[in-house]
């Protein structure tokens, strides 16, 4: 009995010390993380909202206000009072007279290195994409990242045709990438030499997104009248 006691006593004491240390440090660390999270969350959310707002006004330069709309299961658009994220949504841009100008739509797809996330402006009057901004990209510096800065490439999106087909269910002509200098139609994207995969990825992302959103937006334009 005494042998068992002698053997178990230091072990249980050591276990208690380990338990005490791990739980104590865990609680202490948890408190720090929760406190910092609570303190920083409002500022981080504000920063994200400001960055998004900036991007919307970049792709819809004439807009002075914007409203987020959610696409519900029935195919109708509902205004979102609070942008909770994770939902299928578009941003309608309005001018100072509360006139609807166009839409900003987020889209993403695989690039050369990683996922490229972008936002583009769509003008229903021009039936065209009128601007894009890359929100997130890890494309190769000096090569693939030219999709954000190459002036010739960005010219593609000053008026990229996305008019609808006769049955108004899809684009009349899909957005397609072409080799540099060979663009002849307004729905083609002139690629960047040395960044073919990245520029093709942008054309594919826009095509996929526009094929989905443009018919839905065009067929429900009356739902975007700004509420006073």
């Amino acid at each position: 009995m005494s042998q068992v006691e002698l053997a178990s006593r230091p072990a249980s004491s050591s276990t208690w010390h380990m338990y005490r240390a791990m739980v104590g440090i865990g609680v202490f660390c948890g408190l720090i993380i929760v406190t910092v999270f609570q303190l920083t969350r409002p500022v981080i959310e504000r920063n994200k909202a400001e960055a998004l707002q900036k991007a919307i006004f970049h792709v819809l330069p004439q807009a002075s206000t914007s409203t987020a709309y959610r696409l519900d299961e029935s195919g109708a658009f509902d205004p979102l009072d609070r942008d909770l994220g994770g939902e299928q949504r578009v941003y309608a841009g309005y001018d100072g007279e509360h006139e609807l100008l166009g839409f900003a739509v987020e889209a993403e797809g695989m690039g050369y290195q990683d996922v490229i996330r972008l936002i583009y402006g769509y003008s229903f009057a021009k039936q065209a994409i009128i601007g894009i901004q890359i929100l997130e990209s890890k494309e190769t510096p000096g090569l693939g990242d030219k999709i954000q800065s190459d002036p010739d490439f960005l010219k593609n999106f000053q008026r990229l045709d996305v008019s609808l087909s006769e049955d108004r269910t899809r684009l009349a002509k899909p957005i397609v990438p072409v080799r540099h200098g060979q663009k002849t139609h307004p729905w083609e994207v002139d690629s960047i030499t040395g960044a073919t995969i990245s520029s093709t990825a942008i054309a594919d992302i826009l095509n996929r997104s526009a094929q989905y959103w443009v018919p839905r937006i065009q067929n429900n334009l009356n739902e975007f009248e700004e509420r006073e």
Partner: protein, 217 residues
Amino acid sequence: MAEPSNSSTDEFLKGLWKDNPVFVQVLGMCPTLAVSNTALNALAMGLATAFVLVMSNIAVSSLRNFVPKQVRIASYILIIATFVTVVDYTIQVISLDLYKSLGAFISLIVVNCVILGRAEAFASKNTVALSIMDGLGMGLGFTFALLCLGGVREILGNGSLFGAQLFHDAFQKWVVMILPSGGFFTLAGWLLLFNWREQRKAKKHERAGLSFREEVA
């Protein structure tokens, strides 16, 4: 009174120069090579690592008599991960663009061997005051090294420093310097310089020793 302050200064200078974590100990290579493509990224990553290093050194040193040795590494990782989370949120508050450009490497500070190495080798055996000086020295030494790499890579690869253009438009950018291989080239250059300097110093000492022995003889 003079001795502790002297020793604190030694601990500080050791990390900053003599035992620089990057150029002498060759530790923490992952962020060193990956995030040093611009001077601003290098500075932000260096300061973030320095903050985590100082704070984890303080916590580990304060708790050194409380943590049994069997669970010390798990405890240190928990402490380091907590301060990395603090840095993660803080950078998102300061600038979302900076946060995006540093990418996953902020979270990966948890596994930076410089931090765990200092917690295990120094903070767990020394007082809080000395551990702060050690953390500061190593952290600023790491920041200095990252800045050396980031500065060279941004100047040659983008013709700018901290975003300010340095050269005429005609300057042909060395794109390779911003690419991962440029990190290896630049690091090799700096290591070459540091080792050459060390060897020259050792030779000088050797010569001084020889002449002293000749004089004595």
